[in-house]
């Protein structure tokens, strides 16, 4: 069995199983606790919980004015690499085929050269994020191993993907195998670290949305 066969076969299978199992475990495990320790006594005319939750999810997409200056880098850079990752993951044809293979869903992709460009920007943005984390006293204090590991496991697929597409450093199939293995590592770690915010942010934002919504307060 070649490295690529291993990556595409057992490694990917195991990683996806761990990913799904872990992610469902964590969501179910976290959210099947009592939902309301403090019952609602909503203000008259307050938003309905559903609307308030939705509002919470969307309002949190951009910082309030007083935080815009200090948080500019965090937000803009965050957007750059999140959108970059989304574009690379969701609009590169080989990736679409991968998703199609799993889910049956299909949509058109973007030209590869454009994807390479976005991936380079994404990688640069991730590096900038790491440098920021390493230099900020606040982030130094609150960062944990999880933060660095999650960063690494997000960064590696971007780098190995770029190397594979540009055939740099080794034979293509080796690079492709490494790329897939790096994604396996990403998927395996995903449910256990902060990468889960990709799913959990909805609940967190939504719950604060409901809490503040019933009070008629801003989010």
């Amino acid at each position: 069995m070649t490295l690529l066969d291993f990556a595409r076969g057992p490694a990917l299978q195991a990683a996806l199983i761990i990913f799904v199992l872990g992610a469902v475990w964590r969501i179910v495990g976290a959210l099947t606790a009592p939902w309301r320790l403090v019952p609602a006594n909503p203000r008259e005319g307050a938003l309905s919980p559903a609307v308030a939750a939705l509002k919470g999810v969307f309002v949190k997409m951009w910082p309030h004015k007083p935080f815009q200056q200090a948080g500019l880098f965090t937000f803009v850079n965050g957007y750059v690499f999140h959108f970059g990752l989304a574009i690379v993951v969701l609009l590169f044809t080989p990736h679409i085929l991968f998703i199609k293979g799993l889910t049956g869903l299909n949509w058109p992709g973007l030209p590869s050269n454009l994807i390479y460009m976005v991936a380079v920007i994404t990688g640069a943005s991730l590096i900038a994020g790491l440098v920021h984390r390493l230099r900020s006293p606040v982030l130094q204090l609150i960062s944990r191993n999880d933060d660095y590991l999650s960063w690494l496991l997000t960064f590696l697929p971007v780098v190995t993907g770029l190397l594979a597409t540009s055939h740099l450093g080794a034979r293509y199939e080796t690079l492709l195998a490494l790329h897939i293995l790096s994604i396996c590592a990403f998927l395996i770690w995903f449910p256990f670290g902060k990468l889960m915010h990709a799913f959990l942010f909805v609940f967190s934002r939504g719950m604060t949305g409901v809490r503040m919504g019933q009070r008629g307060a801003e989010l």
């Binding site: 199992l21 044809t93 991968f98």
Partner: protein
């Protein structure tokens, strides 16, 4: 033609000039991308060489490799290779049969001890002493061991000989093995492909004959001259890949436009071979040009890659049920963990109340 004569002398006696050598040598050196100027050296080498004794062993195979080599040459430049070698044993091509044939092999081995080349097509059955494939009552694996004993080098032509190929495909009932698993004490050159490109076979043999050494090989023992680049690297459809233009099926608009076949399972990006440049059938076409994706036939285990039409970037396995199972198991574990945590929490809080009660 006597074996003591050099190839040059043989041509002399036929009144053919050295120009034929030079022309052939420039052909081979162009094929193998040898440095400019090596054609002359190769021509001199060929002229000075004796006819190369070749013993061709066919094991678990389909004869496609032999077909590929013999059918593709008409009596012009390329067919000169047959003048340079003495095919002393090839049970498909030789006139002799039965004991006479086996005798010819033994004679050639004895006469050219340490100088002959063994070419193998087909995988070697190793299970149960190799009894699933025999010639003249001798198991392939035994014949191979005996034949290579005094050989100069072994050339495994075709994917079966090089990597086990289709006989070795799951579940590999005959214990088929590639040649280089059996032959470990002689140089082995792999020229995979199903079938291999004839020019690659001719090129390697010519190189061996004229320079008396092995061409540069990659880590799978394939000559880099023919297996140094992927089909994808040299594919004329590559620009479509870069631009994100793909055929989604074999009969859609994209297919008619000649778009990249990645989405319909082309293995070009991970297949090292020269099909895109040398092409087939006298340079007429190659699979991608004919509208079908590369199968990756010259790569190890190409038969077990999850399907020819499964795109390269997808998982090799169908994961639907496994992932559904994982989701259910995850939900169960999550609920279980939550239940355990709630119990744990409740016990904790109760303890607290008890200890407080105790203090009061």
């Amino acid at each position: 033609m006597q074996r003591s004569q050099t190839l040059g002398e043989i041509l002399d006696s036929r009144g053919v000039s050295r120009r034929a050598f030079l022309k052939y040598a420039s052909y081979v050196s162009a094929l193998m991308a040898l440095p400019a100027g090596s054609a002359a050296a190769m021509a001199e080498g060929l002229a000075a060489a004796r006819r190369q004794s070749v013993i061709w062993l066919s094991f678990q195979e389909c004869t496609g490799c032999t077909e590929s080599l013999t059918r593709s040459f008409s009596p012009t430049l390329e067919s000169l290779i047959f003048d340079f070698i003495s095919l002393d044993y090839h049970h498909t091509l030789q006139a002799a049969s039965g004991e006479a044939a086996e005798k010819a092999r033994e004679t050639a081995m004895a006469e050219n001890k340490g100088k002959y080349i063994v070419v193998v097509d087909g995988a070697v059955s190793t299970k149960d002493g190799g009894l699933y494939s025999t010639i003249a009552g001798v198991a392939n694996v035994d014949m191979l061991r005996a034949s290579v004993k005094d050989a100069l080098a072994v050339i495994a032509v075709g994917t079966c000989a090089a990597f086990g190929g289709i006989p070795k495909a799951r579940p590999n009932p005959t214990g088929a093995a590639p040649v280089d698993e059996i032959v470990t004490d002689k140089p082995v050159i792999n020229i995979p492909g199903c079938p291999p490109i004839p020019e690659a076979m001719a090129g390697v043999i010519s190189y061996l004959v004229s320079f008396g050494k092995l061409p540069e090989l990659d880590d799978l023992r394939r000559p880099k001259a023919f297996f140094g680049e992927t089909i994808h690297d040299r594919c004329y459809r590559r620009p479509f890949y870069e631009r994100g233009l793909f055929a989604d099926g074999f009969d859609d608009a994209g297919a008619r436009q000649g778009y990249c076949l990645y989405k319909v399972g082309c293995k070009g990006p991970v297949t090292y071979n020269s099909c895109a440049t040398l092409k087939w059938n006298g340079g007429v076409s190659f699979p991608i040009q004919s509208g079908h994706g590369c199968l990756g036939c010259s790569e190890p285990d190409f038969w077990d890659q999850g399907g020819f039409y499964r795109p390269l970037s997808t998982s090799l396995r169908d994961l639907g049920p496994a992932l559904a199972g994982a989701a259910v198991a995850g939900a169960a574990l999550g609920a279980g963990a939550a239940w355990a945590s709630r119990r744990h929490q409740a016990a904790y809080v109760k303890e607290q109340a008890a200890s407080e009660g105790g203090k009061k």
